[in-house]
Symmetry: C2
Subunit: 566 residues, 2 copies
């Protein structure tokens, strides 16, 4: 490709809302352009990268025995009503009506469509297992589209679905997809962790892993053991419980203390001359509208996913002032477990405290010498908090947990029979008995992966594309297109590389050398060949984007070096 004809240019300025490096660099280097909030055009450079990513994903899916198909974006609302998700999905599901007033959704995912399809296609265990996949455009009306392609409203996904006759079959399909994902991440040059994750709203029983690209801008937090292989999403991560405090025989009875103008846990700890780990923090929630108290240690955070799963709630939000007053008799900020008449979930770390300080359910008062089990029930004790950096791993003896930020680029998920039961996808087993098909679903955000890769592979001057997905492998840059000797040599190299099937970009623009070099670093093609002052001797300057180490080589040497590197 001749850069003079390339449809897209590098930008000097990017919009100030482009906070993330990948967003800024993809805009600046001309890979993408925004059409609307969370809606992007892939310019020719971006399309090339996206297609290379697609191809890697496709090859690994095919190798795993998955069959490619293509399902529509327009999905009849009836299917979503049958699965029960039409009401659950909320405003993220883009809804529309056709000219006959029939309701449709723009698919953010395809469980309903694929389950209905398989229901009509497969009736016997003999035709199972089957794994199908598609690489297709999805729609989701994000409340806060951001970070460019990372959280968009229209995006490219690979979604796969497995159908098995047994739970062991599902385990095997799941493992097959998991392994394919590992190969995909590696081929794309992503630093990632596969982490245990919570099942979330998509539903279903059984295991689920997220593939997280490690990146500071990641919206997910991962806890990983520094010793064993354990890694989990914060929603799911567990640490080893601390040893219970030694039993103390005589804790004085509960005592009410006046605590005016003391607001935060830290202020309270100071007021009582102790540490926040000795405070008992009580939060009042509305779980599907019903009040619920969750009690954690003062230095811990409630994990709402764990709470939701414990009580089986669809919606969990902090109670408003009205509900708080109704159940505690006090304004927000003074709740405590003693005397509460609503269900109370007690985190294990609280249950093992000797005693602590808690709210008194009365404005401007707290209680000290509160003993869990003596002064309030610890019947519903469990893990209801987020793990913290440095806590001990629950899976091994010696490890401690470290926290990372991650971008979820992939997800493998055991759906079980949630959709096959709701939509009636059944098969006859070997004994002729009708059974619901056992399903798994497996997603990769292809466009999101592109973002994550740039987030990991850039420096202050631009992108450093991993070779497998670089828009071009080689950038040939004649310093001056008006210099005939330089141009002749550059054109020769360009022609030779193309003949060898190498993706090459020739910067034949009439621009100053500085502009060209800056653009080259911004665009980030892995190998750069500058044709400049040595052109008269038939020599060029060879460098790789990753280290910028320059070597003067003859054209033949440069060619063979390129072919070796590729």
């Amino acid at each position: 490709m001749r850069q003079s004809t390339l449809c897209s240019s590098t930008l000097r300025e990017v919009p100030s809302d482009a906070e993330a490096a990948n967003h800024r660099l993809l805009l600046k280097a001309g890979f993408i352009r925004q059409l609307a909030s969370g809606v992007y055009t892939y310019m020719p450079l971006g399309r090339r990268v996206l297609r290379k990513l697609e191809q890697i994903v496709r090859e690994e899916m095919d190798r795993a025995g998955a069959q490619e198909m293509l399902m529509p974006a327009l999905q009849p609302a009836e299917l979503w009503k049958q699965s029960g998700r039409y009401s659950v999905y909320g405003p993220e599901l883009i809804r529309l009506k056709d000219r006959h007033d029939r309701e449709f959704a723009l698919g953010p995912t395809h469980e309903e469509v694929v389950t209905t399809l398989i229901k009509n296609e497969i009736s016997s265990y003999r035709r199972l297992p089957v794994i199908v996949y598609q690489i297709q455009t999805k729609f989701r009306d994000e409340p806060r589209p951001r970070f460019g392609l990372l959280r968009g409203r229209e995006f490219l996904m690979k979604d796969a679905y497995s159908f098995d006759a047994s739970w062991e079959g599902l385990d095997s399909s799941y493992r097959t997809m998991y392994d394919a994902y590992v190969r995909i991440m590696e081929r794309c040059g992503l630093q990632y962790r596969a982490v245990e994750a919570d099942a979330g709203a998509i539903g279903g029983e059984g295991g689920t892993h997220e593939f997280m690209a490690l990146a500071e801008i990641g919206e997910d937090t991962i806890a990983a053991c520094d010793c064993c292989g354990y890694a989990a999403n914060m929603e799911k991560a567990q640490s080893r419980a601390e040893r219970p405090a030694p039993a103390v025989t005589a804790v004085p009875p509960v005592e009410k203390v006046h605590t005016p103008h003391v607001r935060t846990i830290e202020q309270l700890a100071q007021y009582f001359g102790t540490e926040s780990r000795n405070m008992i923090k009580t939060l009042i929630y509305a779980a599907d509208g019903k009040p619920l108290a969750v009690v954690v240690r003062g230095d811990h955070e409630v994990n709402e996913t764990k709470v939701k799963n414990e009580v089986g709630a669809l919606e969990l939000e902090l109670a408003d002032a009205q509900m708080t007053a109704a159940v505690t008799g006090a304004p927000v900020g003074f709740a405590g477990p003693v005397g509460l008449q609503i269900p109370v979930l007690v985190d294990t770390a609280v249950a093992t405290m000797t005693s602590g300080i808690a709210g008194a359910n009365e404005a401007d008062f707290h209680l000290q010498h509160v003993v869990p089990g003596r002064d309030f029930s610890v019947e519903r004790t469990g893990d209801f908090r987020n793990v913290k950096e440095g806590e001990r791993c629950a899976q091994c003896e010696d490890g401690t947990l470290q926290l990372f930020k991650g971008i979820e680029v992939g997800h493998v998920f055991k759906l079980g029979t949630k959709y096959s039961e709701a939509l009636g996808a059944r098969f006859a087993d070997a004994a002729g008995q009708e059974q619901p098909v056992i399903m798994g679903c497996y997603g990769i955000g292809v466009s999101r992966m592109l973002s994550a890769i740039v987030e990991q592979h850039h420096d202050e001057r631009g992108i450093l594309w991993p070779p497998a997905i670089a828009p071009y492998r080689v950038h040939v840059i004649p310093v001056s297109v008006k210099d005939e000797v330089q141009m002749r040599l550059a054109e020769e190299l360009y022609a030779q590389l193309r003949e060898r099937g190498v993706d090459v970009l020739l910067d034949d623009r009439e621009e100053r050398a500085g502009v060209k070099f800056n653009d080259a670093e911004l665009i980030g093609i892995p190998i750069r060949v500058v044709v400049g002052k040595h052109a008269g001797d038939g020599s060029v300057e060879y460098a790789e984007r990753k280290d910028n180490e320059k070597r003067v080589l003859s054209v033949e040497e440069a060619l063979s070096r390129i072919m070796e590197t590729i």
Copy 2:
């Protein structure tokens, strides 16, 4: 691929609304499945064909120097308002609102988006010309989705857009795309005609051609000369005007005749003892709401596209009874050109009549001896009718026109500056003057092409895929999977073909031979190798789908024959 694991089955019955052969066969053979009216899933077999089509289109676009990009389906309504198409497009444009109540359209085409993009990307003539394209899913809420993929509501298109600094440049970009289309049609094995077409609602000045796949179910009619290369869509087609009738000096004056209970042109001709070609037919239209009369010969049909273009109307429809009564003073059926006080368009074939019989603008009366030019004005004479089979070609001396039915699979179109002016896409020319970019647009219905190919390539037993786009090139069919000798030979052939990179489907299903053969003919893979009674001698039965001529060959012979054919 092993057919036992293929996700899709052949059907015995297809829905009764599948009227067209392509629709019936693609459903029956398991290439597609309907999700909603005009909305289809491509099953693995269908996806393979679609990808091969995509790849041919992509290769020819790349070869033509067009750059691939990917634009969003979600398009802000503002852009459509700027171009003026938001109101014009009607209910075919799928509209929706996002969670912030902002209006969007689901793109049926991308002129607005691409013009806005180029506006921001290109500011100087030095960066022109540019041709960009995408292969992308489009949405159009068809009033009557039908014929399967042929007229769907969600479909795959290749759309390309050219941007030039001069009209000569546009001519050259247009020719480049035209030539690429010719190569695409030929590589896909389509019988087609490139025909002159009317510019239609998309707007703009200059030339346009449609690429029509010839097929009886086609919704377009093409007139083509049997002698020269002339071919045009019926909307646009012209024939050579007949020689004027010899001047007759004395036509008697107009005479009013009572014609009760005579309704049709045929009845009138009979009543007057003459032929319908001697009748003058007058139709009253509402052109953008204003009355207009169009006068054609009794045996001719009005061409509404030609009429619209003549008067520059956006909407043209037959006048209702009220308007007809207001302008003619009579009920519908008695209009005539004599004495009308509204604009009258006279078709050339009428203007050259010696005299004729016309409506009297009075219920139950007609006029005879009506002489065009004497009794009514022929000032606005032109071509306002459809050509008829057998008329003389307007482009050559000896040819006559033949009519064909065609499916529009491609369209090349000179847009000119319609969109660049509306959306402000300007560039600085060599003299530094700002000019609107000169555009062309070029569409191919990729999924529609799939339909058209099946429409042309099938017989009563199933599909006959052109090899370049067949889902698999070879179908290996062991007659009995329980026969070890047969299975071993079939597996060996399968392995050898795969090793050679041949797309091959192995029918390893436990089915009766008759079922397998029927399915094979239905699916339509070009080469079939049956492993049956000759397996013991290491021989197989080789046949091609197109002629079914069977040859017993050794496995080695079969292999080399396959490699030759491919």
